[in-house]
């Protein structure tokens, strides 16, 4: 039995449907992420898990028990808030002791429990500080310690890293992964940052307009987006309009109008004449002045339209012969070299038949 089961949950605010018939389940010990743009319903779903909002219909089951009539304080679920929500009038130790007091832990046992969890987040020497005396990263860790101290069945994290700068964020990501492994508590993590979701999660539910657009492991979501929304939202992706021209067999052929025919992986139910989108990640496209021919690859020619130097890589926007723009990238492996091509250089592109995949409709 799954630890958490969300069954056909609907939540509306007036005319606005925030969560629209969402069903999913989370296994014990999983690091599960709800990912989506703002307004996609991920935070509303999280608030329903915490008990701050009630679904209009559907069920939320935790350990098989229906949570709908259970108020937030009675749920074995704790939340790490985006703003951390540390109590400003209490010290770090008092903040962490709060859930223990609420749970009726014997007074004598509290200091040891607090010390233990402070050690987990490496903040032993900060026990007597007040939240405003801590840095952003330290506050973050206190918030996590406070939410973990009485070992909830489920830990909810609402964009916990969004207030930190990029460097610290990466550090905290590693810390979160390790912490989750150590404590073995199930995490449900909400974020709009796809990089964060890919880095942290065992599984990701990509949400859009109140619905789950795709639920899969990070590498599946990235490599095989199920629809245009996911392809576009996760990472950079070329979306090329194309038409099915040949089906059957190991490979399917699609035609990109004005560019040519290329081979791709077959799609169930595809029929000749159907239109759709070929999704292609920039890093899966080979780019060179002249590319050696390979039977598994398709080749096109074009010219460099724009370059974006990003330090580790340079992005090249290549204009195909019919005017279609394709984004590609090359790592800047040669020392001191900012780019291999300049604007208007003639280049050749190639990608393997299984580099991208075709979305019908």
């Amino acid at each position: 039995m799954a630890l958490l089961e969300i069954r056909d949950v609907v939540k509306t605010f007036g005319d606005f449907t925030a969560v629209n018939h969402v069903s999913l389940s989370v296994e014990a010990g999983e690091f599960f992420t709800l990912l989506g743009p703002s307004g996609c319903g991920k935070t509303t779903l999280l608030r329903m898990l915490a008990g701050f909002e009630q679904p209009n219909s559907g069920q939320i089951l935790l350990d098989g028990k229906d949570m709908s009539q259970v108020p937030p304080e009675k749920r074995p679920v704790h939340t790490v808030f985006q703003s951390y929500a540390l109590f400003p009038h209490m010290t770090v130790a008092q903040n962490i002791a709060f859930p223990l007091q609420m749970a009726g832990v014997a007074k004598a046992d509290i200091p040891a429990r607090v010390a233990e969890v402070l050690e987990d987040v490496r903040l032993q020497q900060f026990a007597k500080r007040f939240p405003h005396e801590l840095s952003g990263g330290q506050r973050q860790r206190v918030a996590i310690a406070r939410a973990l101290v009485n070992r909830p069945r489920l830990l909810l994290l609402d964009e916990p890293l969004s207030a930190l700068d990029a460097k610290l964020r990466e550090e905290m990501q590693l810390e979160l992964i390790n912490l989750q492994k150590e404590v073995g508590i199930t995490f449900v993590y909400v974020t709009h940052d796809q990089g964060e979701a890919l880095a942290l999660s065992h599984r990701i539910a990509v949400m859009n307009k109140g619905e789950v657009a795709q639920l899969d492991a990070p590498e599946t979501i990235y490599s095989y987006p199920k629809n245009r929304f996911v392809a576009d939202f996760i990472g950079q992706c070329n979306l090329l309009d194309a038409k099915v021209v040949e089906v059957g067999g190991e490979r399917m052929k699609v035609e990109i109008p004005g560019v040519g025919v290329c081979e791709t992986l077959p799609v169930d139910g595809a029929q000749v004449g159907q239109s759709g989108t070929l999704t292609l990640r920039p890093e899966k496209i080979r780019l060179a002045a002249s590319v050696a021919h390979d039977a598994d690859e398709v080749h096109f020619t074009g010219k460099v339209h724009d370059c974006l130097y990003l330090g580790d890589v340079t992005i090249y926007i290549v204009e195909l012969d019919n005017g279609t723009l394709v984004e590609t990238m090359l790592p800047n492996s040669a020392p001191g070299r900012a780019r291999f091509f300049d604007d208007n250089d003639a280049v050749e592109l190639a990608w393997r038949y299984d580099a991208g995949h075709f979305l019908l409709g």
């Binding site: 304080e73 859930p99 609420m102």
Partner: protein, 260 residues
């Protein structure tokens, strides 16, 4: 940034206008002369006379008693009103609670007088106290509400999330955090009450003179006007200033209503 001499000059004039009259009152309360005209010599006679002036002492005790009851009652009710305004976002409630602040005092005084007469109530300490409570609630409510609005809403949710019932969350989180606002509101209610003249004037009865009313009645009659009034005014000032000082020590943020 360099402040120009003109700004300094103008500021000095404004501050002189604000504080010089107060300083003069204090200085002349120690003057060995019955006239507030020229400095003759130092004396504490006016203070001695004040402490033997039963009428003045009675008026002062009325004022303190009214101030105390007003402070307690309007702080409790005003806090509840402020919390309700914050929590329920009702449209009519703020209007009802805050209008008494905006209504001219003279109107409040007259209408309360008519009201008490209609009820056949004997005018006296009770009627004054009720009137003071009525206009102080709004002030307390406004301070408490702005304090609540400055509070991160997720704090209460976090408390609930971590296992606190709504009442425990209020007691352990909300109340301590809005305490500076409540103290500021209480201080405001007390000072508004002890120096209120207009409303007290209308709602006071025979034998229930408050300090401002007594001082006024003496200032009006030149024969009775002597530096004893200066002395009592100085004491009133001392009381107010020490209250502010105490609050600034106990709850520094109370004096910055609303903010942190």
């Amino acid at each position: 940034m360099k402040v120009s001499r003109w700004v300094w000059g103008a500021a000095s004039l404004v501050y002189a206008f604000l504080y010089l009259p107060l300083a003069i009152v204090v200085v002349f309360s120690f003057n060995d002369s019955a006239l507030n005209a020229e400095w003759v010599g130092f004396t504490l006679d006016w203070y001695k006379q004040l402490f033997h002036d039963d009428v003045m002492i009675e008026a002062a005790s009325h004022t303190l008693a009214i101030g105390f009851v007003t402070c307690v009652v309007s702080t409790v009710l005003g806090t509840l009103a402020g919390y309700a305004m914050y929590k329920y976002r009702l449209r009519l409630l703020p209007v009802l609670v805050l209008t008494p602040i905006a209504i001219p005092e003279i109107l409040t005084g007259v209408s309360l007088l008519i009201f008490f007469v209609m009820l056949n109530m004997t005018l006296g300490l009770v009627s004054i106290t009720l009137s003071h409570i009525a206009f102080c609630i709004g002030f307390v409510a406004i301070v408490v509400r702005s304090r609540l609005q400055g509070m991160d809403e997720s704090l209460v949710e976090a408390a609930r999330d971590l296992g606190a019932s709504p009442i425990t969350a209020f007691r352990r989180i909300t109340l301590p955090l809005i305490m500076p606002g409540i103290i500021a509101g209480a201080l405001m209610a007390f000072t508004l009450s002890i120096d209120d003249f207009v409303i007290s004037f209308f709602t006071a009865g025979v034998g229930s003179n408050t300090l401002p009313l007594e001082i006024y009645s003496r200032v009006k009659v030149p024969v009775k006007l002597n530096p004893e009034v200066n002395a009592i005014s100085s004491l009133l000032m001392l009381l107010t200033l020490s209250l502010i000082l105490i609050v600034s020590k106990v709850a520094p943020s109370a004096l910055r209503a609303g903010g942190d």
